[in-house]
C-alpha cells in the first residue's frame, strides 16, 4: 500500500522548533554511520568529505546539518553548502522509492538551494543504493 500524504501535527513542530538540533542530527549521523558499517551504503561517498549538507523537514520546522570526515558522518553547526527542504512524508516517499525526486521538484514539494551539483551527486548516490529491507517495514500494510 502506498504511503499516504501527511503533514506532521502543528504542536509537534511548535515543540521541535524550540529544541536544539544537535541531538537529532547526532542520531541521524549515527544511523548513517551504522548503515555504512553494515554495508548498507555501498558506493564511493568520498565526494561528501568536508562538504556540508542540510536536510530540512518543513513540517517540523527543523532539520539536520552534517558533514563527512575520514569516512564518518558528523553533525555540524556551520552554514550548509546545499540545503534540501521537504515535508517528512515526502522524504519517506523518496526513501521508499514511491516518489521520484525530480517529480517532487517539478511539483515544488522538494526544494534544493546552494551547490546544486553536490545535491545532485547525493541524490544520485542514494538512487544507486539497493533499497534496504527495513525501509519496507515503514510502509503501511
Amino acid at each position: 500500500m502506498p504511503l499516504p500524504d501527511f503533514t506532521l501535527p502543528g504542536p509537534l513542530a511548535a515543540i521541535a522548533r524550540h529544541l536544539p538540533e544537535r541531538p537529532a542530527a547526532f542520531a541521524f549521523t549515527t544511523a548513517l554511520n551504522l548503515a555504512k558499517r553494515a554495508g548498507k551504503l555501498a558506493g564511493d561517498w568520498e565526494f561528501l568529505e568536508g562538504r556540508t549538507v542540510r536536510i530540512e523537514i518543513e513540517d517540523l520546522g527543523s532539520g539536520v546539518t552534517f558533514t563527512a570526515a575520514a569516512g564518518r558522518f558528523h553533525p555540524v553547526g556551520n552554514e550548509p553548502e546545499v540545503r534540501f527542504a521537504a515535508r517528512a512524508s515526502d522524504y519517506l516517499k523518496i526513501a521508499l522509492r514511491e516518489e521520484d525526486p525530480d517529480t517532487l521538484f517539478f511539483q515544488r514539494r522538494l526544494k534544493i538551494e546552494g551547490d546544486t551539483e553536490l545535491g545532485l551527486e547525493l541524490k544520485n548516490h542514494l538512487d544507486a543504493l539497493e533499497l534496504p529491507a527495513f525501509l519496507d517495514r515503514l510502509r503501511p500494510h
Partner: protein, 334 residues
C-alpha cells in the same frame, strides 16, 4: 502487426532492475563520463554495477544497450573508442552511437557488436539512415522527435533498418545532436560534455518574488509559490521579449504517445523508447509498468484499444511541467 520493443532508461543499477522487473524488453545505460548524453554527477555505471545489471537482464532474457552518443572532441577520441571496447567486453546487446568516426571504429573493430544510430545522430530521413547502414552496418536508428506520424511511416517504408521512436519523457527544443544553447551559457552541451545545463552551473534560490532558477548566473525563470517547475534549461526558461515575459522557446512538457500506440504499431515502429536516465527508480518503475500495460493492451485489444485513465494519471504525475503532448507526431494543421 509486430509488437514494438519497450526500451527503458537506467541511470543506476536499481533503475535498471526496476525497468526489467516492470516489463522493459531492453534497458539503455551509459558510463560515468562524457561519452554519453547524461553525464551527471553520481549517475551511471561503473564496471561492477554494469556487469551485475547485464547479468540480471540476460538472466531474464532482456537486452542491455549502451549509449556512447556524444561527439568525441579533438584529441580525445581514444576515450570514446575505449568505451566501445568496454561495451563489447561486457557483452552488451548493442551500442547506441552518434559520431560517424566512432560508428566506423565500432563496425571495423567489433563487427559482431550490434550498432544503433542514436537520436543524437540526427538522422530524420531514410537516405541518411540507409547511408549509415551502407557505411557502418547500423541495424536500428532512433528518430529525432521532430517527425509527424506520416513522416515516420515514410521513413519506415524506405528502409530495412529498424526504427525506434520516443514514447515518453521530457521534451526540449529537439535540435537533437546539434543544440548549443547550453554551451552558450555554460560552455558545455550534451554533444560535447554529455550534459545540458551542468549542475555546477545551476542555482535555485527562494526570493520574495518566488523561486529563481539561474544558469551561470543568467536568470532563466522565476516560479510563483505553487507554480510547477521545469528543468533548468535555457530552452524552457521564460524570457522578456518585447515587454512580454513568456516561454519564448519551449514550454516544459512531456511527450506521451499512449494514445497513439496502435498507429505507431501499424506503421511498423520496432521500438518505443522512454526518456529519463537522470530520473530515479520510482519514475522508471511507474513509466515502464504503464507503457508495458499499454503496449500489451494495444496488441491484445486491437481496435477495441482504449487509453485507461489510470495510465494517463500515473504518467501525468511524473511529467515535467505536468503537461503531456503528442509532440511532433500530431500536426493536424500540416
Amino acid at each position: 502487426m509486430r509488437k514494438p520493443e519497450l526500451v527503458c532508461p537506467a541511470g543506476s543499477l536499481p533503475s535498471m532492475k526496476a525497468a526489467i522487473d516492470h516489463g522493459a524488453d531492453a534497458v539503455y545505460m551509459g558510463l560515468k563520463d562524457a561519452t554519453n548524453a547524461r553525464n551527471f554527477a553520481g549517475l551511471n555505471f561503473d564496471a561492477a554495477a554494469a556487469r551485475e545489471g547485464i547479468r540480471y537482464a540476460h538472466a531474464k532474457g532482456r537486452k542491455v544497450l549502451m549509449a556512447i552518443n556524444t561527439f568525441p572532441q579533438a584529441g580525445q577520441s581514444a576515450t570514446w573508442r575505449r568505451a566501445v571496447d568496454t561495451a563489447a567486453d561486457w557483452g552488451v546487446d548493442a551500442v547506441i552511437l552518434a559520431d560517424a568516426a566512432l560508428l566506423d571504429y565500432a563496425a571495423k573493430t567489433h563487427p559482431n557488436l550490434r550498432r544503433h544510430l542514436s537520436v543524437q545522430g540526427s538522422a530524420t530521413n531514410y537516405e541518411a539512415i540507409n547511408l549509415c547502414r551502407d557505411l557502418f552496418g547500423i541495424e536500428r536508428a532512433v528518430l529525432p522527435r521532430v517527425l509527424t506520424v506520416p513522416q515516420v511511416e515514410h521513413v519506415i517504408q524506405h528502409t530495412e533498418v529498424e526504427i525506434e521512436v520516443f514514447g515518453f519523457g521530457s521534451l526540449c527544443v529537439m535540435v537533437e545532436g546539434r543544440c548549443l544553447l547550453s554551451s552558450y551559457a555554460t560552455g558545455e552541451s550534451p554533444n560535447t560534455a554529455g550534459v545540458c545545463s551542468p549542475a555546477k552551473a545551476v542555482r535555485w534560490a527562494q526570493t520574495p518574488q518566488g523561486m529563481e532558477s539561474r544558469l551561470s548566473g543568467i536568470l532563466i525563470d522565476r516560479y510563483g509559490n505553487d507554480e510547477p517547475a521545469g528543468y533548468p534549461t535555457l530552452c524552457k526558461g521564460r524570457f522578456e521579449v518585447n515587454d512580454e515575459t513568456y516561454y519564448a522557446l519551449e514550454e516544459p512538457t512531456s511527450l506521451n504517445v499512449v494514445a497513439m500506440l496502435p498507429e505507431l504499431m501499424k506503421i511498423g515502429v520496432s521500438a518505443i523508447k522512454v526518456e529519463g536516465r537522470q530520473r530515479s527508480p520510482a519514475y522508471v518503475a511507474e513509466v515502464t509498468k504503464t507503457l508495458r500495460a499499454a503496449i500489451d493492451a494495444a496488441v491484445s485489444e486491437g481496435a477495441r484499444y482504449h487509453v485507461k485513465p489510470a495510465w494517463q494519471a500515473g504518467l501525468g504525475k511524473l511529467a515535467e511541467g505536468q503537461q503531456q503532448t503528442l509532440g511532433a507526431y500530431s500536426r493536424p494543421w500540416k
